[in-house]
């Protein structure tokens, strides 16, 4: 595929490209915080349920303390999401300009 020149022009698309210059997409929040938050909450709730599970519940799950395990896994996953976001914050998206090297 050659790199020369621009794709074919179309008025509707050009208008949309023009409008995109005032895009507010850069204000979009970071999704990792939401996923992390929800899973930490789920992890805490389900782990606590697991700690207090009765024999009947454990028997129902074929002897596996599934609430405890699932809760802990969700908690760890949630924390990892938050850690990822904290360690590597999102670079602001700049769709119209080329970004210099970081």
């Amino acid at each position: 595929m050659s790199n020369d020149g621009q794709p074919a022009q179309d008025p509707l698309i050009d208008e949309a490209q023009e409008e995109q210059r005032r895009s507010a997409a850069a204000r979009l929040f970071d999704l990792r915080r939401v996923i992390g938050g929800l899973f930490v909450a789920y992890g805490v709730i389900v782990t606590l349920i697991g700690v207090f599970d009765s024999a009947a519940e454990i028997d129902k799950a074929q002897g596996v303390r599934i609430n405890l395990w699932a809760g802990l896994v969700m908690l760890v996953f949630g924390l990892l999401m938050l850690l990822w976001q904290w360690r590597r914050p999102a670079e602001p998206p700049a769709p119209n300009e080329k970004q210099p090297g970081t």
Partner: protein, 552 residues
């Protein structure tokens, strides 16, 4: 296992987990609102999203109602052969979309799949595709909604209409407010919640049957028998659970149906168009291919577990239909707590599927029908408003079609078959148009129209009893194949008789015409080898082939 009643024993904590999810989903929609100023923000997330987000949304958009419930049902009914829907029926097409087709979609800056047809061919082709896509999305959204309501009714005892209205209202709210960003962000969240719901069912199911070896032994003793554990072994004839020969699986499912669905379905492609640059757009379907490789673990395995543990599974009607494989396991195996997560996961999957249809619809309706044919040259804000109203309309009509769907017992199979057949001629038209620059605008129109009519006629003749096939599946293989051939033949006949488009008009749209810049908008870090679309794609296809070895 008393077999009667699917009702789950949900307690307050389970409902707390469900409520937390609803609040989060709505919060995501509201928080995404501040990132919307232009129509491109509303319909394409301002083309700003990173590849992992669009990739997970891409796979999540496909993890709808029919997918999870239906693939577990197929697992119970057809056994391991169900993996064909993933490893040959999805992964190669997703990789092809990313490597070969995405440069034309993303590079030409089209805002939708129908818009590509307008640039490559002409306005009639565009309008035909825009209209059929819009109608299909609303119908499928209705079927998703109805499936959601059925499950909620069975599991939680909610009345049908309450479940339909609640499900619709939440999806409506977060898409109307948050636009495509609201939909995509929630799809990624839903992806993880769906997995969090399905993994415990799978793990405990496996523990119950004594691990993978125990499951294999039990399947050998079940009504599927040894054949239920093999994907390819008996495909020399139709004497296998799926009733399909290898040639039908490879060309019908693996090529025409799968490429038709994954490469031209705007509800999917839209996720990639919202990526922040060419590299991210190309990686979107390829990143999605990796989870897709593993999803059979949490659908087919629960299906098989249900087959061997739920006595009487496979009834024609009632609680023991194959479709209830996963709900039955949830009822029998999950204690409160993970039960709430699993129910939330099921709900999340319905919402992901429906949101994909609705956000695909509002974009095509606004850009490809309203702006192109009804109200041109209005300010950009006007089209954002149209998009919001189109969302409301889609959901309201979706509720209507959900109630129509409620009147038919088997409509989901029919609609799936019908629309999978619609995709085949579209794919043929695309693939010829993308690689043969001589193909003319008129040829594009007639290929699409006649291809669709041929597959539709075959379907109607089959339903009317005039032509006979072994199964619905076989009919859809043949319908798709015939539609594909028709489109090719029509293109070959009409093209020489009509005037070609000028080369300048085809730049960036057709292979070999130039105008596609794969590197121009590249971000720092995208050049590293592990972000190469081609490398990632080749590994995904190789893994799909490898995964077949233990279940050959």
């Amino acid at each position: 296992m008393d077999g009667d009643g699917l009702r789950l024993n949900m307690n307050g904590l389970d409902y707390l987990i469900l409520a937390l999810y609803f609040v989060t989903v709505l919060g995501v929609g509201i928080a995404a609102r501040r990132a919307i100023r232009t129509s491109v923000d509303f319909f394409l997330s301002g083309r700003s999203l990173p590849a992992w987000v669009t990739g997970l949304a891409f796979v999540s958009a496909n993890l709808g109602a029919l997918e999870i419930i239906g693939m577990a049902a197929n697992g119970a009914q057809y056994g391991v052969m169900t993996v064909h829907y993933y490893w040959i029926g999805a992964v190669p097409a997703m990789v092809f979309l990313g490597i070969v087709m995405m440069p034309f979609y993303y590079g030409s800056k089209v805002r939708s799949v129908p818009e590509y047809l307008r640039l490559r061919f002409n306005r009639p082709t565009h309008l035909l595709n825009a209209l059929s896509f819009a109608v299909a999305q609303v119908l499928i959204a209705g079927v998703n909604l109805y499936a959601l309501a059925l499950v909620m009714q069975a599991l939680l005892g909610w009345p049908l209409w309450t479940a339909i209205v609640v499900g619709a209202a939440i999806v409506l709210a977060y898409i109307t407010i948050g636009g495509l960003s609201g939909a995509i962000y929630n799809e990624v969240l839903q992806f993880f919640v769906i997995l969090a719901g399905l993994i415990p069912v799978t793990v405990i199911g496996l523990v119950k049957v004594g691990g993978v070896n125990g499951l294999m032994d039990a399947v050998r003793d079940s009504k599927l028998g040894e054949a239920g554990l093999h994907a390819w072994q008996d495909t020399g004839s139709t004497a296998n659970p799926l009733g399909a020969q290898w040639i039908g699986i490879v060309f019908g499912l693996g090529f025409v149906l799968s490429f038709g669905y994954w490469t031209t379905n705007f509800a999917e492609v839209q996720r990639a168009l919202s990526a922040k640059n060419m590299s991210a757009a190309r990686r979107t379907p390829i990143i999605a291919a990796y989870p897709k490789l593993f999803i059979p673990l949490v659908t087919v395995i629960p299906g098989l577990v249900a087959l061997v543990t739920v006595k009487g599974l496979g009834a024609e009607s009632g609680d023991l239909q194959y479709n209830n494989a996963i709900p039955l396991l949830m009822r029998d195996l999950l204690p409160n707590g993970v039960l709430g997560v699993a129910v939330t996961g099921l709900l999340a999957s319905f919402m992901a599927g429906m949101a994909a249809n609705v956000s695909g619809f509002n974009t095509v309706f606004t850009y490809d029908i309203w702006q192109a044919y009804i109200r041109r040259d209005r300010p950009d804000d006007y089209y954002v408003r149209v998009g919001r109203w189109a969302t409301v309309a889609a959901v309201v009509v979706g509720i209507g079609t959900a109630f129509i769907a409620a009147g038919f017992s088997n409509i989901m199979n029919y609609i799936q078959a019908l629309f999978s057949v619609f995709n085949a001629p579209l794919f043929a038209t695309f693939i010829i148009g993308m690689f043969w620059k001589r193909m003319t605008a008129l040829a594009g129109f007639w290929s699409l129209l006649l291809g669709t009519l041929v597959s539709l006629s075959l379907y109607l003749l089959y339903k009317g009893g005039v032509i006979d096939f072994n199964s619905d599946l076989e009919e859809s293989f043949w319908g798709a194949g015939l539609a594909f051939v028709t489109a090719v033949v029509v293109a070959a006949i009409i093209t020489p008789l009509t005037a070609p488009k000028r080369d300048a008009e085809l730049r960036g749209l057709v292979y070999g015409m130039g105008g596609v810049d794969l590197k121009g908008d590249v971000l720092a870090g995208d050049a590293v080898w592990y972000r190469s679309p081609v490398l990632l794609g080749v590994i995904a296809v190789a893994l799909a082939a490898l995964f077949y070895i233990p279940v050959f």
